[in-house]
Each structure stands twice: as C-alpha cells, then as structure tokens.
C-alpha cells in the first residue's frame, strides 16, 4: 500500500519534470540561439556573444524593454486590485444582472486581439484619448482584468462564505473580514492573477502596437514590427536576459514569501 503511494508520487514528480522540460524547451532554444552567429538560426551552432554586444548598443531595444516593464508592472498592480475587488463582489453578493456581468468577461478574451486593438485605436482616436503610454495602460488593464477575475473567482469558489459570516458574528468589521479571512485564503489566486496580468501585458503586442506613439515602443512592438524583415538574434538575447532575471527574482521570491496557500 505504502509502496504504491511512493511509486505514484515518484511518477508524479517525474511527470512534473517532464512538463517543465516541455515548457522550457523553446526557452532553452531561444537562449541557445542568442549565442549562435547565424541570424537564421542555422545549425550546427557557431558560438558567439556578438548579439549581446549588438544589444548593448541597441538603445531602442533596451528602452523598449524598460517601457514594457513599466507598463506591465503598472498594469499588474491596477488589474489585480480592480479584478480582485470585482471577483469578491461577484462571489459575495446576490444581485440581478450577475450572469450578464460574468458573460461580459468573454468578449475581450474571445475576440482576437487584433480586432480589439483596432477598435481601441479607432475609439480612443474618436473620443480624444489618443495614443501613448496612458492609452496602452488603459488597454492592457482592460485586457488583463477578465483573466484576473476568472482566476481569482476560481479560487474564491473554494472559499466557504460561512467563514466570513463566522468572523462577522464574532464582531469583525467588513474590512477586517476581508483582510483577515478572505484575502489570506484567496492569496494564491491573487498571486496567480497578478502573474497572469503581468504576462498578458508583457506579451501584448497588438494593442501596444496600435496605441504606442512613435519613438516610445514596447518590446513586443519592436518584435512585431520586425516580423516582415524578420528579427535578429538580438531579440533572443534580450529575451534570454529577461528570462534569467525573472527566474532569479522569482526563485528569490519563492525563498522568502509563502503564497502557495500552504496551511
């Protein structure tokens, strides 16, 4: 009996290892090719660090990366706060029109970003919001919100409203109930929602592409604009640096914070 459990656990760990290998295969290739001299990713490898040197001189690409980071952080903060609040309301309260509010989360996910981006460009132009970083943040938060709400709601589904009621009956205020009871329980959902929001913003090219002003591009915009001519391994190089830095900071975060919902 114990033996089977052990074996299954071992198999489970091996499976996760396999999944990680699958997830990291293209990342590994991306990193590998940033050290390949051939701009067409020709094999066998011809090792070089010249793409990193080229990147260091490419201020446009570096500025774009910083822009992307700033926008993504801002988007993550706003979308996570607004999205979590909305999820709480959708779970906690009973009111007419709730089904409609839930259904309204799907158009931004279902309609291809190209169409949403075009629609934003036209609308923002029409009402005078215009282009620029403010417009990009406006668009990114809106695109990230449905993801945050869906993810946080999935976690909230596992939360018993009785807990809140129990706390309330013990004299806790609504604010205390939310911060001491509900939020700790849904913390993993909020963290996941934030990570999604960051990913949506950081990888979002269509909306940024339409809404950025000339000379203030984001990284995905630089990449997308290069698609006709094709991009050089400089893009691989900058992506590799971003991956390495994020991996380092994430593992550091895992070392110091607990957000996996450990009891």
């Amino acid at each position: 009996m114990m033996g089977t459990t052990r074996l299954l656990e071992l198999l489970g760990r091996a499976f996760v290892g396999l999944m990680l290998a699958f997830l990291y295969l293209p990342i590994f290739i991306m990193a590998l090719m940033s050290f390949n001299a051939s701009p067409f990713y020709q094999l066998p490898m011809d090792w070089t660090t010249s793409w990193y040197e080229a990147l260091a001189r490419n201020s446009g690409l570096i500025d774009a990366t910083w822009n992307s980071l700033r926008i993504a952080v801002l988007t993550t903060v706003i979308a996570t706060i607004l999205g979590t609040a909305a999820s709480l309301a959708l779970r906690r309260y009973v009111f007419p029109g709730k089904r409609l509010l839930r259904a309204l989360l799907f158009p931004p996910i279902a309609i291809p970003w190209l169409i949403t981006g075009t629609a934003m460009l036209i609308f923002f132009f029409g009402v005078g919001i215009g282009r620029g970083l403010h417009a990009i943040v406006l668009g990114h938060v809106a695109l990230a919100l449905p993801y945050v709400i869906v993810v946080v709601s999935a976690r909230l589904e596992t939360f018993a409203p009785e807990y809140e009621e129990a706390a309330r009956s013990l004299g806790a205020t609504q604010w205390q109930v939310t911060t001491r009871v509900t939020l700790p329980w849904i913390a993993p959902g909020v963290v996941a929602g934030a990570l999604f929001a960051f990913a949506v913003s950081f990888d979002q090219f269509v909306v940024s592409y339409f809404l950025s002003t000339p000379g203030e591009a984001t990284l995905p915009v630089e990449i997308y604009a290069a698609i006709r001519k094709g991009f050089t391994p400089e893009i691989n190089a900058v992506s590799t640096i971003i991956m390495t830095v994020s991996m380092g900071s994430m593992l550091l975060a895992a070392r110091f914070f607990r957000f996996g919902g450990e009891k």
């Binding site: 801002l74 903060v77 132009f125 970083l133 000339p214 604009a225």
Partner: protein, 353 residues
C-alpha cells in the same frame, strides 16, 4: 476597502504621470515606414541628424492597410511616410497626403522621368510622392537544389520540387503571379478563372506560405526550400550580405515591378525637415552605402544606381534592358478587386488544407 483603493489610485496616477513625462522636441521628424527598410538604418539616421539638425523618430507599419489607418487616425503626427506607388492615389483621395515642393528636393532632378512623372505619384500637375526605390517580385531559388538555374516560372510546378516550394501569404501577389504564369497583364486580369486554375494546380506543390524575409532565409538555410516567390532586394541581401545560396531568377514570362515613394502627410509639422530627409533618401551617397552595407532595392535616382560598383546586382541584372522589357509595373488596385483576390486566395488555401 476605500482607503487602500484610494492609495492605489493615487499611486497609479503618479506612475502614469511619470510615464508620460517624455516631451516632444521642436525639430523632431517623424517617419512612418516598414521596419528595417532603409530609412531607419542607424548610420544613415545619425548622418542625417548631424547634417540637418533634425531628430528622426520612426514608427512602423506591417501592412499598407495599417499604414493608411495610422495616417487616418494620427493626423499631424508624421512628417514623412513611405507609400507604395499603387497606394499613393488612395492616400491622396482620402486627403491623407499633401503636395511635395520638389524645388526643395534637388536630387529629384536625377530621378528617371518615367518614374518622376508617373501618374501614380502625380495629380493636377502636383507631386504627391517622390520616387524612392523600385524592385521586382519574381522567384528565387536555392542554388544547392539546381545544377542549372531555371529560366521559366514553370519551375514552381515541377514535380521534382514538390514540397519545397513556397509562396508569399499575400492575395494580391499570388494572383498577380498567377496572371504572369497564364500570360496575362497583371493590371488588367481578363481571365481570373485561368489564374485560379493555374494557382490551384500549384498549391499541392507548396510547403508553406511565407510572411517575412527572415522566414524565407531560414527555410533556405535549413534546406527546406528549393524555389519560391521572393523580392529582388531581399534576394540580393540574402546573397551578398548573408552569404546564402540564393539566386534571383527573372523568368521569361515576365516579372512584377513595384515602386515605393516618399510622401508628406497632411498636417505634417516639419515639412522643411521632411523635404531634407526625402532628398537625403534619394541621394547617391546614402544609396551606395545602403546597398553595399545592407542590400537594397534599386534607387529611383539614376545617378545613385550609376554610382554602385560595376558588379552590383542592382546595376548588372536590373539595369539589363532585356530585363526591363519583361517588367510589368504594379498599378493601383481597386478595393473591390482586392477583396475578390483575397476571397480567391482564401478559397485556394482552404481547398489545399
């Protein structure tokens, strides 16, 4: 809930304000073009900025439709825009571009007359687009797959190369290619049914539909491609700068020629800078450096082409009168025709799926 939200809102607005701080400078010159298409070469921009004092800022588009949309929704943002001559008329009819004062652009004097006076770029005696570069859309081959270079477009249909043929994923280009293969005028396709049938018989040969120059080069580099449609400038760049085994073929049946012009959008804030930039772009000095360093299409400026090294592809091959006789230059295409071609192309792609 109220307090932390207010703090968050305040923080957010502070951050947004910080993000918006980059202000616009007076001598900025905004250029709209494809990325990596001459105007944004770092050395060129630096040289121009040093000589003229203008600060060049680029924005890019990924399709002509997008370029027009950017012009429509950003009046007054751009000072120079690169427009394919077949689209200049449309931009003019929508009031998106203004007449160019060619007296401010001395290099125009050296542009071949048939281009400078092209009805696609001129209206009511005014110039709306300055011819910049031209090139060909034909086929290119992987030299490793051929002992002797093909001379006919029919090589695309050759069973031997089945599964190693590529076409650009572009309805207009595909249909015009089909028109040449069926011996028709690309600007006046009488028998679209024949074009459709000819392309339908080509589809089973095709491995992929390419979208970017880099994709095409990657396929050659990894030996997946024998022959495919390609642009002359890209083929010369692949051969001379990337040392790939690529040869550009100008088939006896004919080739498609295109002309790219530079225009000044309506409401441009820096018209003087725009004229200086356009002049620099058709200058022999810039062009020779562009073609030798990077690889370029053919300059509209005859003196610029004449200044190229004698062995340059753009001088030897494209300067050949026998080649010139085979070129059919692209004329404007109506929206109705574009939509018809797109429907045809989509149907073909679904059938072969």
């Amino acid at each position: 809930m109220n307090k932390p939200k207010r703090i968050a809102t305040i923080t957010a607005s502070f951050l947004t304000a910080g993000l918006l701080a980059g202000a616009v400078q007076a001598a900025d010159l905004h250029v709209l073009n494809w990325k990596g298409y001459g105007t944004d070469e770092t050395w060129a921009v630096e040289a121009f900025e040093k000589a003229s004092g203008h600060n060049v800022i680029h924005d890019y588009f990924n399709s002509e439709q997008e370029m027009l949309t950017k012009l429509r929704t950003n009046p007054g943002t751009y000072d120079v825009v690169m427009i394919n001559a077949a689209f200049t008329g449309q931009a003019l009819s929508e009031g998106l571009i203004q007449p160019v004062d060619v007296s401010k652009i001395p290099n125009v004097a050296d542009v071949a007359l048939e281009m400078a006076e092209s009805p696609m770029l001129n209206a009511d005696g005014k110039t709306y687009g300055v011819p910049w570069v031209w090139g060909l859309t034909a086929i290119a081959v992987n030299e490793n797959a051929f002992s002797q270079l093909p001379t006919s477009i029919q090589v695309m249909w050759d069973e031997k190369h089945k599964g190693k043929v590529v076409l650009r994923d572009d309805a207009l280009e595909a249909v015009q290619f089909g028109a040449i293969a069926t011996g028709q005028n690309i600007n006046d396709i009488k028998d679209l049914g024949a074009v459709r049938a000819k392309l339908a018989s080509l589809m089973p040969q095709v491995r992929a539909f390419w979208g970017s120059e880099n994709e095409w080069n990657q396929m050659v580099a990894s030996g997946q491609l024998d022959v495919g449609t390609y642009w002359s400038g890209s083929a010369s760049r692949a051969k001379t700068n990337f040392k790939l085994p690529v040869a550009f073929v100008i088939p006896e049946e004919g080739v498609v020629g295109w002309l790219d012009g530079l225009s000044i959008p309506t409401g441009a804030k820096n018209v003087e800078g725009a004229a200086a930039f356009i002049n620099y772009m058709i200058d022999p000095g810039f062009y020779v450096e562009w073609d030798t360093k990077v690889g370029a299409p053919v300059s509209a400026n005859s003196k610029a082409v004449a200044a190229l090294p004698e062995t340059a592809f753009n001088r030897t091959v494209l300067g050949d009168p026998k080649v010139a006789a085979r070129i059919q230059f692209q004329a404007p295409v109506s929206d109705a025709d574009r939509e018809k071609y797109l429907a045809l192309w989509q149907e073909l792609k679904v059938e072969v799926k």
